[in-house]
Amino acid sequence: MNFNLSEEQSMIRDSISRFVQDNYDFDQRNATTALQHGFSADHWRQFAELGWLSIPFAEEFGGFDGGPVDTMVIMQEFGRGLVAEPFLPTVLLFGGLLQAGASEELRSDLIPQIIAGELHGAFAFLERQSRYVITDVKTRAQREGDRWVLNGEKTVVLNGGAAQKLIVLARISGEQADEHGLSLFLVDTFADGVTTTTYRMTDGREAANVRFDNVTAEATIGASGEAFELMNPIIDRAVLAVAADALGAMESLNAQTLEYLKTRSQFGTHIGSFQALQHRMVDIFAACENTKSLLYRAACAMDASDSDAQRSLLALKFMVGRAGRQIGGEAIQMHGGMGMTEELSVGAYVKRLMIANTLFGDADYQQQRFSAVVNAGSRSAVARAVA
């Protein structure tokens, strides 16, 4: 039993941490998110040069064959620094789905381009009505000769503005929320019939709604009708990544709040000497430690393909939502009026945490799924009692 990072993992962590120190103070971050698409192309090139974009990919495509713990290490540092570059949508989601389901030819064509920092992608899976039920898909794909033609709209596509290519979740058969009958399609964002409307998320990162009017897909990703099985492990990995990002943000935010309690003076003393505030600070310290424990739990279980992985991940994502809201709310409150201003980064961290809560399902949704998994069992006792 150990919770230590390997030498390589420590090197990655240190290297990202140095990058954040040099390039991501709050003013620099604001300048970065103000750029087109909400991130810096220069930074992305550096990520490629430093090899970070290769880490989750298989060695045969030039990758590092990184596992869940490697992803965790990277994302935790990105979260700590509020890094805005689209590692999650391009590398983990788009790249992850390509690696899991694309043809050999496509993989060896596109993955090296991602690793080189030349190709941006996104995963278009949400729709206006879908909320957190990922299988609720109205976008249709129809076979016309040897082509697939897409019609519909995907929403809140992270990095949808910068992406040159999308992987689109569309229905080829079945009812609107069926798990089966879903397929994934590779679509060029410059193809005829694609209309992209971009907007910013609360923390400055870019998302888009993308309309498809008789758009011809470039390729299918994975077996027809079986996208659900294909994308689940990729989404699980992404959930772990979002949680790690959130933990980094929580740690950074808590450190800021703690520092403020030690330095802000009121009534002739530092406010951290007040017991009411001390206890609240302990509460958010505990919330952060709980998140870390569940993150390690989920990462280890995923790494070992343990049967505990599913419920650990659901528990983790629940905790990210609950702890994130608590830590964010307390940070603003304990910073007082200053916590309300754009002068401090407090608000930006809070927004990052709120986005983490909604991604792939909020705390309430995770709790319901968690309950369904852990409480599953015979209902015969009830049946007997009622009879």
Binding site: F3, G272, F285, S293, Y296, Q367, G377, V386
Partner: protein
Amino acid sequence: MDTRFTEEELAFQAEVREFFANIMDEDLLALLDGAEASPTFKEGMVEYQRRLNARGWMAPGWPVEYGGQDWSVTQHFIFNSERGKAGAPAPIPFGVTMVAPVIYTYGTDEQKARFLPRILNSDDTWCQGYSEPGAGSDLASLQCKAEREGDEYIVNGSKIWTSIAHAADWIFCLVRTDNSGRKQEGISFLLIDMSTPGVTVRPIETIDGFHHLNEVFFEDVRVPVENRIGEEGKGWTYAKSLLVHERLSIAEVAESKRNLEQLRELARAEVNGGQSLLDDPVFAQRLAEVEIDLMALEFTEMRVMASAAEGGMPGPESSLLKLQGTTIQQSIQELRMDVAGYYSQAQRGELSADQLGHEFADFAQKMYFRGRAASIYGGSDEVQKNVTAKHVLGL
């Protein structure tokens, strides 16, 4: 980062599992049924502890030379987890986990030889004399005094909230031997035979309806100087040094896991308007929150153990174990009361469960009220937060 067990650890796990399956037979389970609320609790615990001792597993955390086991932290973790899964309790802590480490760390060879084997074999039952009527969470302000007279101390004063004193053979006490300096100084650590003239025990009735707490009075009680641990005036240091090496199982994760699984099945079987309580979304949400907190705490405890194994001081997260463990225990007790519905408020008294019409309500009720004490003793929740704020967060 890896939490998988090795082949050897898996074999050890199987060995421990088999051991507990064997010793927790029906007779023993019957004695222990109802936990502390049961009149046969002490008898059951002594029998249970002797079975542990027969295998050499009464005090695996002690140094090997005194009867402990040369286990890795993972083995300790496995042992505690399997014990919890089997529904086997932790030994009564006052002897084996509380006074014994003080004795083997600071005691003389004579003291070690005299007391440790009797603790291992459950020949002596111990209780803890720390709190006083005027010194609760502010422990160091204690006043129970011991005055030196030749080779003896004359002890006068009282201790309160003393669990199991009515059934104890010995009490370990913090007493004041000097009043001149800081309140933490001038405290000494004495071992007192409960049968010494001048020691009286008064039961304290508690809201849980069973007797476990007491007040202990000392009136000119003569205690041989050889019963003092370490130096005079250093008792506070000895008591405190133990708090740094918190017991491995202070969060009681294994017990809570088992209690939670039982709670889930109780809720599954409970029907409200034709629907299992487990399918009630509000109940399910409350249960899920406790379970998720417990899953986190389990790994927090593992993180603490892993860092201790590497010889480091426990990380800052260790300060949360008692606080969070207690909160979870109380949440489970609260949910169990809610599952019992109306019956959670019925006093069973001398009736059988069948006569009353409910199987577990009586237990639920006693453990709920008993459990309220957990956030008060051993450093209240508020004291835990003060300590974390000061020593971990630097506030």
